[in-house]
Symmetry: C2
Subunit: 245 residues, 2 copies
DNA sequence: CGACTGGTTGATGATTGTCAATAAGTGTGG
DNA sequence: CCACACTTATTGACAATCATCAACCAGTCG
C-alpha cells in the first residue's frame, strides 16, 4: 500500500493456489519477503486474542489452530490451519486481533512485516486482489462452520469436521491411496471446534465407529466407509471438492 | 486485475470507512462504477446459495440478510447487512456462492460487474488492499458469531445479537439520543441467526423484558438497561466499539 | 374489518452438558 | 526395555438446555 490509508492486511488465509495477476503464487511471494522465521513448540501461541501485530505470517510447516476465548472460560476453535496457509491480521490499522493462533504440533512460520506487504501490493496490483480472494475463501469456510454448528446435530457436525480434516490431510499426502491419516488433535479440540463437550464428541465417535463409518482414536483417523461418511456429514460433493487443497 | 490469474472478488463486506491508498472511499468508488441498480422487494432474493454471479453488489438502501440452507431444511443466517455494505462473491473464478442474499425490507443495490472491479484494481493498487481488509472484517464478524453460537447459551446469544443490531442501527440514526430502534426482523429470523428455535427466542426475549434489560416486540427494540444488556451479552466494550459503523 | 403473519404459552421429550470415577495410551528417564 | 507420571479417552448417572408440537392470541396490513 502506497498511501496513508491502510495498513497490513489481513485475517487468515489458505492454500497455495491463489495467484496474482502475473501468475506468481501469493504464498510463495510472501515467503520470499520473509525476514525471519519463528519456531513454535506444540501448544505454544504464535499470538493471542487481543494482541496487536505488525506482521502477517505464513505457516511453513506443522499444524496450528485459530481460536477465541470467552468470558465463561470456554474456547471456540475457528479453524485448523496446515502448511502454506496465510495467518494474518486485523481488518484495519491498529486493530487488535480478535483471535489467537496456537501451534498444534511443532511448527515453523514465516513472519512478513506489514510494510513488506504494502510494498508487494504497490509493485503488483493483482497481488492484493489475490489476498482479497484468499480472504473471501476464509469467510466462506467460517460461514460453513457457522452453518454446521448453528443448525446441525452433534453427529453431523463431528462427521463433517472429520471429513474436512481428512480431505485436507489426505490431499497433501504423497501416496493418495491410504484411507488413514494422522491428525494431531484431541477429542477436546474436536469439541471446541464443533461446539460440543469432549464427552459428547467421544460418544459420537463411538457411534461412527460402531456403524463402520469412521474411526478416530488417539490421533489416527481411519475412514471406513467414505460414502456413508459423506452422507452422515450432510454435505454435497461440490462443497467437499472445495476443501481439497 | 490485469492478467488471467484472477476474477472478480469477493465475499461480503461492510462499512463506508474503508479507504484505498488515495483515501477515496471504497464503497463510493464502487458505486461510481455501477451500471445499473436493482430494486428488491422485501423477501426477495438478490441471489441464492449455489448461484454464480459475474458482478458484486453494494447495498444502497434497506436491510438484507446473508443465509445458507441445509439439507434438513433449516436455515442459518450469517449476517444482517445494512446500507453501504459490499455484498460480494466467490473466492475464485467460477466459484458458486456458498450463501444467498435476501432482502428484509424493500432494498436497492448497485450492481458492479467483475470486469469493472478488475479495472478499478488495476488503476489503484490500494483499492484491492482495502477490499482485502474489508473481507478481513467480514471474517472477524463471522468468527464472532461462530464463537457466540458455538459456546454461549441461548440467553447470551440473543442478548449479543440484539446489542449488535441495536448498536449498528442506532449509530446510523440522525439523533443518537434514543434508546429504541426499528429492526425489520421476526423472532424466527433471530432464531435462524442465533441457531435457536423461534419459540426459544421468544422465551429468552420475555426473560430479558421481565428483567428490565431489553424489549423486542414486533420489530421495535427498546434498550431498557444498556449496562446490564452488555453484561448479559458477555462482550467486552472493545468488541462493542468495533460494531459501531 | 378480515385475513394473515407473527407472537405466546404449556406440555413433553430429545439432545447435549456436567460430574466423577476408571481405563487406556503416550512419553520420559532410568 | 521398564516403571512412572501424565495426558487423553471412556463410561454411566444425572441434570440442564433447548426443540418440537399444538393450540391460541395479538398485531399488522390491505
Amino acid at each position: 500500500m502506497s498511501g496513508r490509508g491502510g495498513s497490513g492486511p489481513i485475517g487468515i488465509s489458505h492454500d497455495a493456489r491463489y495467484r496474482d495477476a502475473s501468475g506468481a503464487n501469493v504464498i510463495e511471494a510472501l515467503k520470499a519477503q520473509c525476514l525471519r522465521q519463528r519456531q513454535l513448540k506444540a501448544g505454544e501461541d504464535l499470538f493471542g486474542p487481543g494482541s496487536q501485530q505488525n506482521a502477517i505470517f505464513v505457516l511453513i510447516e506443522g499444524w496450528t489452530l485459530l481460536y477465541t476465548l470467552l468470558e465463561n472460560g470456554k474456547r471456540q476453535i475457528l479453524h485448523f490451519a496446515v502448511a502454506d496457509t496465510l495467518l494474518g491480521l486485523p481488518p484495519s490499522k491498529g486493530t487488535v486481533s480478535t483471535f489467537g493462533v496456537q501451534a498444534l504440533t511443532r511448527a515453523v512460520v514465516a513472519e512478513i512485516p506489514h510494510r513488506r506487504v504494502r510494498e508487494l501490493v504497490a509493485e503488483r496490483p493483482g497481488f492484493a486482489l489475490a489476498l482479497a480472494q484468499s480472504m473471501a475463501r476464509d469467510t466462506d469456510l467460517a460461514f460453513d462452520l457457522l452453518t454446521s454448528i448453528g443448525r446441525s446435530p452433534a453427529r453431523v457436525r463431528v462427521a463433517r469436521l472429520l471429513l474436512q480434516l481428512f480431505v485436507r490431510a489426505w490431499s497433501r499426502l504423497p501416496g493418495h491411496g491410504i484411507e488413514a491419516v494422522r491428525l494431531p488433535l484431541t477429542q477436546e479440540q474436536l469439541g471446541d471446534a464443533t461446539g460440543l463437550s469432549s464427552v459428547h464428541v467421544n460418544r459420537v465417535l463411538h457411534e461412527l465407529k460402531r456403524e463402520g463409518i469412521a474411526a478416530f482414536h488417539y490421533r489416527r483417523l481411519r475412514i471406513l466407509d467414505p460414502d456413508r461418511l459423506i452422507d452422515a456429514a450432510e454435505i454435497d460433493p461440490e462443497t467437499l471438492k472445495s476443501w481439497i487443497v
